[in-house]
């Protein structure tokens, strides 16, 4: 059995908040405990993650452009039982077959899109989280690996959680599906292409707009000129009910030079603007109709630096600072005018904090393949 834990105390200041002012706050984000248990020979693996953001950021984390699960301009807390997957990583291991077959069932990351932002260099989540990942669903999945190619498929429930303590709507299990093809011609160079149909993600009891999703990405994770380099280039698109198209392009990279980890992220992502409650950071949920107020396009460049500051009692310390320049534009028509809502057209954000982690050398968050099950989370 392996155990791990993580927490990140952060302080963020930004003027990309409603009503044209600067706002700052300090929070404890991404407090997690991970458990990985396996039978002898790893024929069966249990991968579980507890996430306590429902306690530490009940009202979300200040994150420019964030949206989803009833939040806007603040990242929503994840559910307490973030992940609980029972996996058979390689059912064909005893056969002389040239293929590997894995099966999994439980609650976790749907095989679609790119790795979860929690396991990537930048602390602040990208705007495209709900375009590029599908998570916290009850699902059954299968994966076949032949040579450098891996094909995964899953059936799951379309509804996304609305509260940290909410379970997937099991009556909707199987109403949504995804496929992901990954090709890794050489170790550390990977291409993925994904497709998913998610039924009524924003309306728990169905009846809302369905999301048709595409994603493709190139991922580099190997040395370059003698230094470890990570890079990701992704494109994703979600079409909601034939009425709304949201697209994203994101590039991020990190270079490791000894203890030093400079990193950079650029993204341009479309965001739907929903009706908000009296709290300007919350959208009306459950939704009461299928219309939106408009679409905004968020263009964000983020430059960051993290340093390995050592370990205390097996807890590693990694202070970081990251700053962003942010542009917000209307896409097409609609009532929502970002210049009026945010009070200015020049935005910025600064975040500093310390990644505290203990034994977090587990799988890449968002993948349950034969090899990823043992791959370290080495990009934080």
């Amino acid at each position: 059995m392996q155990l791990g834990a993580q927490a990140i105390p952060v302080a963020t200041e930004s003027n990309a908040v409603p009503r044209g002012r600067s706002y700052g706050e300090a929070r404890l984000v991404q407090p997690m405990v991970m458990v990985r248990a396996a039978t002898g020979g790893e024929r069966l693996v249990l991968q579980a993650t507890g996430d306590f953001e429902g306690l530490t950021i009940k009202n979300g984390e200040l994150t420019p452009g964030a949206w989803g699960e009833g939040f806007a301009d603040r990242r929503h807390p994840h559910t307490y039982l973030h992940e609980f997957m029972l996996l058979a990583p390689d059912l064909l291991r005893d056969l002389p077959a040239p293929a590997h077959l894995s099966l999994g069932v439980g609650k976790g990351f749907v095989p679609f899109g790119t790795d979860d932002p929690m396991s990537r260099p930048t602390e602040r989540f990208p705007v495209n989280h709900h375009l590029s990942q599908i998570l916290e669903r009850a699902m059954a999945m299968a994966g076949v690996t032949v040579g450098p190619a891996r094909l995964e498929g899953a059936l799951f429930n379309g509804d996304e959680p609305q509260h940290p303590d909410q379970w997937p709507n099991l009556s909707r299990f199987g109403d949504s599906w995804s496929l992901r093809l990954t090709v890794e011609p050489v170790t550390g160079l990977e291409w993925e292409g994904s497709r998913a149909l998610v039924r009524s993600p924003e309306t728990r009891d169905a009846g809302g707009l369905d999301a048709t999703k595409w994603s493709t990405a190139l991922r580099w994770d190997r040395p370059l000129l003698g230094r470890p380099v990570y890079a990701l280039l992704e494109w994703a698109r979600t079409r909601e009910g034939g009425a709304l198209t949201l697209a994203t392009v994101l590039f991020e990279t990190q270079v490791t030079a000894g203890r030093h980890h400079p990193y950079f992220r650029f993204e341009r992502t479309d965001r739907p603007e929903d009706e908000r409650t009296l709290d300007p950071y919350r959208d009306v949920r459950p939704i009461i109709e299928n219309s939106v107020l408009g679409v905004t396009r968020w263009t964000i460049g983020t430059l960051g630096y993290a340093v390995d500051a050592g370990r205390t009692w097996r807890v590693s310390w990694k202070p970081f600072v990251e700053g962003s320049l942010i542009g917000i534009q209307s896409v097409g028509s609609g009532l929502f005018n970002p210049a009026v809502f945010y009070g200015t057209d020049r935005h910025w954000s600064v975040t500093t904090g310390i990644r505290l982690s203990w034994g977090m050398e587990d799988h890449r968050m968002g993948r349950y393949g034969r090899s990823e099950m043992t791959m370290p989370m080495d990009h934080q």
């Binding site: 009910g241 009296l278 107020l293 097409g332 028509s333």
Partner: protein
């Protein structure tokens, strides 16, 4: 001491001053709950049309539920609604399902027919600029087995609230970015032949229109537009429409529903503030007086604090009461005002329903008593029926 505090008190008073009268969030005791009917959250109930003791409940992707609430055909009453029939109309190539928002049961006085029910489909759109959804025609000759027989599609726009000139067999429909539309609905309605029945379409302001509702009064069709406010259109007996007066008269907020007091010649209109147009909080009901030619002018306003919208506004059949519903906020629910002075309504009672609120509200007189029907938003959507007879006395 008093002299020192006086300027501060004056400043505080000025800071708190608002041009809108604030509706008191007090709760009286004249309104009683007659019944609630739970609605399957698919994903809820949007509107109700009540006629002759029959309540036609528009339940989005579950279509339409028809209840006996006092008609007698199934022994129902306002305190014991009994389901008579239901129908789920076609999606009609509009994404996300039938999305039934509103209804009008057409009683044709020229031949006595009560055969057709018109349903509004509120499809996806971008509020303020685009919309989708058709008018569906349901044959309700047999209320226990309603059947879809036709539909009307207007390219580039989706329908919202209706009004009818039944004597002249003209259906008026708000069509959001398509403005206001009139449709001739005489004779037999089968298939999509309604496409040939368009009489007139008026877009009040071609630079931006999003028409929420319409109502006919004194040969004028009044139209409330989210972007440009209250308009007066001429409407002859054949249904031809033209802009006469009004417009650009609610610049600080987006408008929502409205209702005409046909006994006194006043109009009451609400505002939709899920996105604050100019940063003003709460929502408002504006009071409009109609002059000799029917042109509206604003004479008063009532502020409903702590809500996201005045979602519906209705004057009672006898013109004595004003009811409006509010949603999304701690001040959500039903509000009742006396129209003893129609230029300045006086508060009677507030009926709280939870912060999700009431999406639409309707009056109904059933067996001599006055009721308010409300479509409660999810979560836990339900049809609410209030006995408000005591207010009317």
């Amino acid at each position: 001491m008093i002299r020192r505090l006086a300027p501060a008190a004056l400043l505080f008073g000025l800071a708190c001053h608002t041009a809108d009268r604030i509706g008191p969030p007090a709760v009286g005791g004249s309104v009683t709950l007659a019944a609630t009917v739970p609605i399957t959250p698919n994903y809820g109930v949007h509107d109700t049309f009540i006629r002759n003791g029959i309540a036609i409940v528009c339940v989005w992707n579950s279509g339409v539920l028809i209840y006996d609430v006092g008609n007698g055909m199934k022994g129902g009453s306002p305190t014991n609604p009994v389901l008579v029939g239901s129908v789920v109309p076609s999606e009609d190539s509009v994404s996300a399902g039938p999305e039934i928002h509103n209804a009008w049961w057409f009683w044709n006085p020229t031949n006595g027919q009560t055969k057709y029910l018109f349903l509004g489909q509120e499809g996806p759109g971008k509020i303020g600029s685009s919309s989708s959804g058709d008018i569906h025609v349901i044959d309700v000759s047999d209320l226990t087995h309603p059947t879809e027989v036709g539909s009307f599609h207007l390219p580039g726009a989706g329908t919202h609230n209706f009004w009818m000139d039944e004597a002249h067999q003209v259906l008026y429909a708000a069509y959001y970015n398509g403005g206001a539309v009139s449709i001739h609905v005489s004779g037999t309605l089968i298939g999509d032949t309604l496409a040939d029945r368009l009489i007139s379409q008026v877009v009040p302001d071609t630079t931006g229109t999003y028409t929420w509702g319409v109502q006919l009064y004194n040969a004028s069709l009044y139209a409330i537009d989210m972007l440009t406010g209250l308009w007066q259109l001429s409407a002859d007996s054949a249904g031809h429409l033209a802009v006469v007066a009004g417009g650009h008269n609610v610049p600080t907020r987006y408008s929502s529903d409205f209702s005409v007091d046909t006994t006194a010649g006043y109009i009451y209109s609400g505002t939709w503030d899920h996105l604050q147009r100019t940063g003003l909080s709460g929502s408002v009901v504006y009071v409009w007086q109609l002059n000799g030619s029917g042109a509206p002018s604003k004479v008063d306003s009532i502020l409903a604090p702590a809500v996201g919208a005045v979602s519906d506004v209705k004057v009672s059949p006898d013109g004595k009461l004003l009811m409006f519903s509010t949603e999304t906020g701690t001040g959500s629910g039903f509000y009742f005002y006396s129209l003893a002075n129609p230029a300045s309504p006086t508060f009677l009672e507030y009926y709280q329903t939870g912060k999700e609120g009431i999406h639409t509200c309707k009056w109904a007189t059933i067996n001599g008593r006055l009721y308010a029907f409300g479509a409660k938003n999810p979560s836990n959507p339900e049809l609410m029926i209030l006995d408000v007879t005591a207010l009317d006395h």
